[in-house]
């Protein structure tokens, strides 16, 4: 697929949606948690992992996916869910723990399942990798050309499941793409102090698959790398590993003081907001500011509406806790 202007505008739009989603979460998360921050309180209790800065990874990859292609994501799932087309109202409702959420409020922000677009995520590092291989193998065995993509963080690439699933996917020639979002940190631990080599993409050679490193947190470059890898998978040529250099503009979770960052690092990151940069690029490429303004406004409205919907939605009944444990 060629990187068309339509495609670029789609990526821009989805990045804006994602960022606005997080921007609406931020104040909501702190509701009820003031003056003393208490994670248990407010409409959004529990941990909250935001995607600010990592949007290019999601849009560049998901631009190539159909609803029947599967995606498994992580504890930091919002940008990917949105790019994959997860129902926004049901997703927002789930994060607010409402009865009409994706799983009726049972899962929350780390456990978003949307069967219609074959999206799921989980709270355990690298847990989604096996299921992605499984979705890919199911398609392959059924003679379909659907593919699967497993997103993980760079920290997850040191978990045993990474190794096992890459090897298995390669041996079975599974139509799957593994995407590592390298935001340089696993919570407070830097990639440099946790990972033996500089680039996880170079680990692909241990599995006889292509390994592609995408620098610059650039949607267009992600798009191109993902296009090739997904085409490869779709045409039966097997798995690939992509590592994307990205940035985490917020703390690991909300409330993280980020004192582990070297001085000045965060400020430097803030000057590299990928959405701002992409907007500038689009303008330089001749897209009028007003076109972009309209896209932004529409995208934001969509998210705002989803949040409004979520907030108006009913809470689950306490007894719902007991249902759907078993099918």
């Amino acid at each position: 697929m060629k990187l068309t202007r339509t495609q670029k505008l789609w990526m821009f739009e989805k990045m804006v949606e994602s960022r606005h989603f997080e921007n609406l979460i931020k104040p909501a998360y702190f509701e009820g948690k003031q003056p003393v921050f208490n994670m248990a309180k407010g409409p959004l209790p529990g941990e909250m992992h935001l995607s600010d800065g990592q949007e290019p990874c999601a849009v560049g990859v998901c631009a190539h996916l159909r609803p029947c292609d599967a995606v498994t994501a992580t504890h930091r799932p919002h940008h990917i869910a949105i790019a994959k087309g997860v129902n926004l109202e049901a997703m927002a409702s789930e994060i607010f723990g409402r009865a009409n959420g994706l799983s009726g409020g049972r899962g929350g922000h780390m456990h978003l399942f949307d069967k219609d677009v074959n999206f799921c995520c989980s709270g355990i590092i690298a847990q989604g990798m096996g299921p992605a291989v499984g979705a890919a193998m199911a398609a392959k065995l059924r003679g379909k050309d659907d593919v699967a993509v497993a997103f993980i963080g760079e920290g997850a690439a040191n978990q045993g499941a990474f190794h096992e699933t890459l090897n298995l996917a390669s041996v079975w020639n599974a139509p799957v793409v593994f995407v590592v979002e390298d935001n340089a940190y696993g919570i407070s631990v830097s990639k440099r102090s946790a990972t033996a080599i500089e680039r996880n993409a170079d680990r692909a050679c241990a599995y006889g698959m292509p390994g592609i490193f995408v620098p610059g947190n650039d949607p267009d470059r992600v798009f191109e790398a993902a296009r090739d890898a997904i085409a490869r998978a779709r045409s039966g040529q097997g798995p690939s590993l992509i590592e994307i250099e990205t940035i985490r503009l917020e703390g690991h979770f909300m409330g993280d003081a980020e004192s582990y960052r070297p001085e000045g690092e965060k400020d430097a990151l803030l000057t590299r907001d990928p959405i701002t940069l992409y907007r500038t690029r689009l303008e330089n490429e001749g897209v009028t500011p007003s076109t972009l303004d309209v896209i932004e406004a529409t995208a934001k409205d969509r998210i705002t509406a989803a949040f409004a919907h979520a907030r108006q939605s009913p809470a689950p009944s306490p007894e719902d806790a007991f249902t759907t444990v078993f099918a």
Partner: protein, 341 residues
Amino acid sequence: MEKKRKLTIAKAMSEAIALEMRTSPDVLVMGEDIAKMGGVFGNTQGLLDEFGPDRVRDTPISETAFIGTAVGMAAAGMKPVVELMFVDFFGVCMDAIYNLAAKQSYFSGGNVTCPMVLMTSVGGGYGDAGQHSQTLYATFGHLPGMKVVMPSNAYDAKGMLAAAINDPNPVIFMYHKALQGMGWLGTVQRSIVHVPEEHYTVPLDKAHIVREGQDITLVGLGHTVHLALDAAATLESQGIDAEVIDLRSIAPLDRDTILASVKKTGTLISVDDDYHSYGVGAEILASIAEQENLQLKAAPKRISYPDIPVPFAPEMEHHVLPNANKIVSAAQRILKVGEHV
């Protein structure tokens, strides 16, 4: 009279899988040494020949990967049957089992199910030491979202495995090495029974009264059902009429059947070969103890495996495993004590 088809549990299992594979293209089998070798414990014999390598897949020694893969297949509507060769190996892949497979339905609010069967061998008694002889029933039974079952004979094995494969939920299908019918492990002959050729199912949530009796209830599962039956025979010769229950399922636990039996007999011994503390017997005794207005004629007892790793030397291993004699003595003591109350 109908000709008897006496099968081992191993054979009954492979037959059950074959029947399901013939019926549905969604059923496939994966695990270590399950294709060419037909399974270290023989329960996938013949499947590779009939169904080919796409549907009968040997895996690398990567339990986390292939169980996770099975969950993904199950989410996509396939019905994978996977094997964890020994239950003792659960430690390398429990996340994929208890946190992934077992919670998929709940986390998705029932939208994504997990029709996966995990077959796994349990049990010791043959000198394989502490990392190849465990049973871990309670380890699995304690964690929600999965069914945990184990047959005591080939008839149940075939019917329960058929039920498990067609269950929309993850089912941990344990099979006990002492009953498996692999020549090289010795086998309790009573587990080798007539198995109908056709398809049938045995429910996964019902305990089975394998011997009716009036004086005491003996509850076992898998291998210990046979120990209980042996004990019941001895007790009968001493005028004690024991009822023997085969749990069949650890989760869900059929408390109703146990309770009804205990109401009749007035007391109980649970017998299992898993670790003692926080084990099978604990749950059974507690389920009885918390009944209001239930007066027993004697305190119940549990016979289990002690809280120690499984030792290699037979002198030690057989000393600590449950056996029929221990059940007989316990029953005698309980009922004598009972008389004095």
